[in-house]
Symmetry: C2
């Protein structure tokens, strides 16, 4: 397990370990620190600069989706067919179930957000195509 | 609505407005900033120094309880019959339904935590006696 070079990431909720389990669905390195496994699943997610996850959908028969609470750095959130939204510490993102989206860091900043799983029924994550450099580099 | 003197409270999730609705269950001034009303209820709670809520219980027929994610300052969490636990930024507290407890700031620090409501059935809050100065002042 590689440790972070982390000269500029000191998030209050810690970066935890490198995200190997989902690395295939990310471009760049990310880190996961699970804060709660009971009641509500909560994980602190850290993205190195330029790191972003693939387009994905939180599927659910009922309820579901995810809430992001941005804690440090700068990032992006984008829903399919919409302009990307710039994210800063304190920002809150409601990701409804069934909506295709991605999130990640900006080109020149680490980014960390809490991800809070909204309870639901028959939930699953559908991972789709990566956010290619051509599209990502255009964000500003 | 009084504004904060707030010379030493700059929490990333904002302090919001003075907590008047529940002031009767608190000693000292607290502030609430609701971050999410959909999916999972999330509020950022700020306590001025010495502020604490009364002993209380999150009742539920199923599920329920609360998760605290400490974001800034120093605070206390205590369950009935147990020693108080000192809280710092990054600390996570799972409060099970049915457990009598209180939380609040230390004597010399503001304190802020996210409060994340764990979904459940037939939920209600039972507010009990205050944490008196005699007991509070003994904490160190």
């Amino acid at each position: 397990m590689e440790t972070m070079s982390g000269d500029n990431n000191t998030d209050v909720f810690g970066s935890g370990e490198e995200n190997m389990a989902y690395a295939q669905y990310f471009i760049g390195k990310s880190y996961l620190n699970v804060l709660s496994n009971e009641g509500v699943f909560i994980v602190n997610v850290t993205f190195e600069p330029r790191c972003r996850n693939n387009w994905h959908v939180h599927q659910a028969e009922q309820g579901g989706g995810q809430i992001l609470l941005c804690t440090s750095g700068r990032g992006w959130y984008q829903e399919w067919g919409k302009p990307a939204r710039a994210l800063s510490p304190g920002d809150v993102v409601h990701i409804p179930a069934g909506v295709k989206h991605w999130h990640g860091a900006t080109q020149d900043s680490w980014f960390t957000h809490l991800a809070i799983e909204v309870p639901g029924e028959e939930k699953s994550n559908e991972w789709l195509e990566p956010v290619l450099d051509g599209d990502y580099n255009r964000l500003a």
